[in-house]
């Protein structure tokens, strides 16, 4: 516990309000960025742009939210991006062949879920560290996707389906509704179900959790499945958004998703973090990119700035959270 890298924290388990402050810090950080941007560029505060940011954040959030649960168990899923790509391609094919969006959506979710399950099996049954297991999975998935797509593009989906990605309802983009829904579901799952509680417990100390009668392996499987399924969901939004599927859509998604989770204050040591935090993390990342586009900052700076934000965010975490022992 005196190990600097593992601060004593009051975690967000149901009985602790300790992380409420953390969320407030983040919200205010996001607000600060908003204020700065609105001062620098008047078109920033336009309703259109805000919705725009939310919609772009939603894509990141769907992937990151599932990932949050994995990180809560002190694990990691590097395969989410590749998973999105494969799921999207499969779902896309199904929609084009059957013409039924519903079947396509089911395919996407199922494919994502199965990949997640395999990850879970590797981590629990084969006892491979999640970091490595999912890294291997990433290559396997890419291989499958490349082989399946053979450099082609699947494009052109029924308008009804594309509404999911680009449609509006009462002036709000549909992805934003989905974002809010899954934010609510995710938070409820983590904070208000015993499964959620057990996941926190597993993350905080797997051995103690097992000896407290928690089915650790099953919870881990669950967590990886959820992560995979959320990737599947994200793949659907992608399809509807881009109206096409390519083998390379996933590539650029994994690290930002992880960054969102970390900026959101979820600890890599497990047991600490919230889905809502991840949402704010995704929001902050998107805000910055959006701002840079609006201010037409040289795109070369984007990775640099993202990197700095990740470090600063987590560093603030550690300093504000660490007990003075």
């Amino acid at each position: 516990m005196t190990d600097m890298t593992k601060p004593v924290v009051a975690p967000p388990g149901s009985l602790v309000s300790g992380d409420l402050m953390q969320l407030l810090y983040r919200l205010s950080a996001a607000l600060l960025i908003c204020i700065i941007l609105s001062l620098l560029n008047d078109s920033f505060l336009s309703l259109g742009n805000i919705l725009n940011v939310l919609r772009q954040a939603s894509l990141l959030f769907f992937i990151a939210s599932g990932l949050t649960l994995v990180v809560l168990t002190a694990g990691l899923d590097l395969s989410v991006g590749a998973n999105v790509a494969l799921s999207a391609c499969l779902a896309g094919t199904v929609i084009q062949h059957t013409g039924s969006p519903l079947l396509g959506i089911l395919t996407g979710l199922l494919a994502g879920g199965i990949v997640g399950l395999l990850n879970g099996v590797m981590v629990t049954a084969l006892r491979i560290p999640s970091f490595i297991a999912t890294y291997g999975m990433l290559w396997v998935l890419n291989g499958l996707t490349y082989w399946y797509m053979a450099g082609e593009t699947i494009h052109g989906f029924p308008p009804g389906f594309r509404q999911i990605g680009s449609g509006y309802l009462l002036g709000l983009p549909i992805p934003v509704y989905l974002l809010l829904i899954f934010l609510a579901i995710g938070t409820a799952f983590a904070q208000r179900t015993i499964w959620g509680q057990e996941i926190y417990a597993v993350g905080a100390n797997p051995v103690a959790a097992r000896l407290s009668g928690i089915p650790v392996s099953r919870r881990l499987l669950l967590v990886y499945c959820v992560s995979g399924t959320m990737a599947g969901l994200a793949s659907i939004i992608f399809l509807a958004r881009l109206n096409s599927a390519e083998a390379d859509i996933g590539e650029s998604l994994t690290l930002p998703a992880i960054a969102a989770v970390l900026i959101g204050g979820t600890s890599l040591f497990g047991g600490v973090g919230t889905v809502f935090g991840t949402f704010i993390g995704a929001l902050i990342l998107t805000l910055v990119l959006n701002g840079m586009n609006l201010l037409s900052v040289n795109a070369n700076w984007q990775p640099f700035i993202t990197g700095v934000i990740v470090i600063v965010a987590v560093w603030l975490d550690m300093t504000t959270r660490r007990h003075k022992l």
Binding site: T2, D3, M4, T5, P7, L76, M122, L126, R127, I128, P129, F131, I132, A133, Y135, G136, M137, L138, W139, V140, L141, N142, G143, L144, Y146, W147, P206, V207, L255, I258, A259, L262, S267, L268, F269, N298, A299, N300, W301, Q302, P303, F304, I305, T306, G307, V308, I309, V310, I311, V314, W315, M318, R322
Partner: protein, 313 residues
């Protein structure tokens, strides 16, 4: 994680070695020209840059750390070599610049991890972004070419019949072996991962040595940057991206565990070569690239699975 005793290197030797032997056996029989001297030197040559990164990565992982920034930093140092040697016409100045840049990033990583107390994954994920950004900014996305011949010759030249990069890699391995198993620093690296408190009680500052470990990582990235530039005879802003994961995979395949400072340096080298052999063999067989992609994943998973079996028995 109750795999304490079994995690000892000795019992792990098979994990990766068996695998490598298997691959060599298979390709040796079915892949034309696989065992030809030219091809063998190819594999070794291609493995050098990764080796230069995987060695320090082993030490970093032994301290229960990670360096995700390595790939990006190598790219940056490679650009530094290109730009400086182009401007000054001197290969050595280029190398110096690369080493300065690399070491600086390594020290930054070390500082963030040891002093600021940021988890290694996060800290180096951040510096990964920073290095990548710098690559684009200094090169504006363009390759840097027209580098003095001297730089390029490093890659093509041979020394005592061995390609220079291979010699460099061998020296690096020897150096790391001595460092890890025969110096105080090496001893403290085991302690950093195995029991950090022990260092404190011994009146040593873990932070200081931890920074040292990451700095060495940066230093090696600097040297690898020279090889990279020499190989391409150019600096390119994306050349080395993703190498860090290859390095981590090699270390893991090589049987170094992510817990309690249990590392095996030679296993790492075997791991690197295994990955290299796999890619090379598949190329010789001219199998569909998609299959090659997947096979890398399988290699990693199977190797780790074998070690898992071993550590449980």
């Amino acid at each position: 994680m109750r795999e304490s005793a079994a995690a000892s290197p000795l019992r792990r030797i098979p994990g990766v070695a068996v695998m490598l032997a298997l691959l060599v056996g298979i390709f040796g029989t079915i892949a034309p020209g696989f065992l030809s001297p030219a091809n063998i030197s190819n594999v070794l040559l291609q493995s050098t840059i990764l080796t230069m990164l995987a060695l320090p990565m082993t030490l970093i992982i032994m301290t229960e750390g990670l360096d995700l920034s390595m790939g990006a930093v190598v790219t940056l140092t490679s650009l530094a070599v290109a730009i400086v040697s182009l401007a000054t016409g001197s290969m050595l100045l280029g190398l110096a610049a690369a080493i300065v840049v690399g070491t600086a990033f390594g020290a930054l990583n070390g500082w963030l991890v040891a002093i600021a107390g940021i988890p290694p994954f996060v800290a180096t994920l951040g510096t990964l972004g920073m290095a990548q950004g710098l690559c684009l900014i200094v090169s504006d996305g363009q390759s840097v070419v027209g580098i003095p011949r001297a730089v390029r010759d490093i890659y093509s030249a041979t020394l005592a019949g061995l390609p220079v990069p291979v010699v460099v890699a061998l020296i690096a391995y020897a150096a790391f072996h001595v460092l890890l198993y025969h110096t105080r620093f090496g001893t403290y690296i085991f302690a950093l991962g195995g029991n950090r408190e022990a260092l404190r009680y011994a009146g040593l500052s873990p932070a200081k040595w931890l920074i040292g470990v990451y700095t060495i990582g940066g230093l090696m990235a600097g040297i690898a940057g020279l090889l990279m530039t020499a190989r391409m005879n150019a600096g390119h802003p994306t050349a080395g991206l993703g190498l860090e994961f290859d390095a981590i995979a090699a270390v893991a395949v090589g049987g170094t565990s992510f817990e309690r400072g249990n590392g095996w340096l030679f296993g790492t080298v075997l791991g690197v070569i295994a990955v290299g052999v796999l890619r090379n063999g598949l190329n010789l067989l001219a199998l569909p690239s998609s299959l090659q992609v997947a096979s890398v994943g399988f290699l990693v998973i199977v190797a780790l699975f074998l070690d898992g079996l071993r550590s449980r028995s």
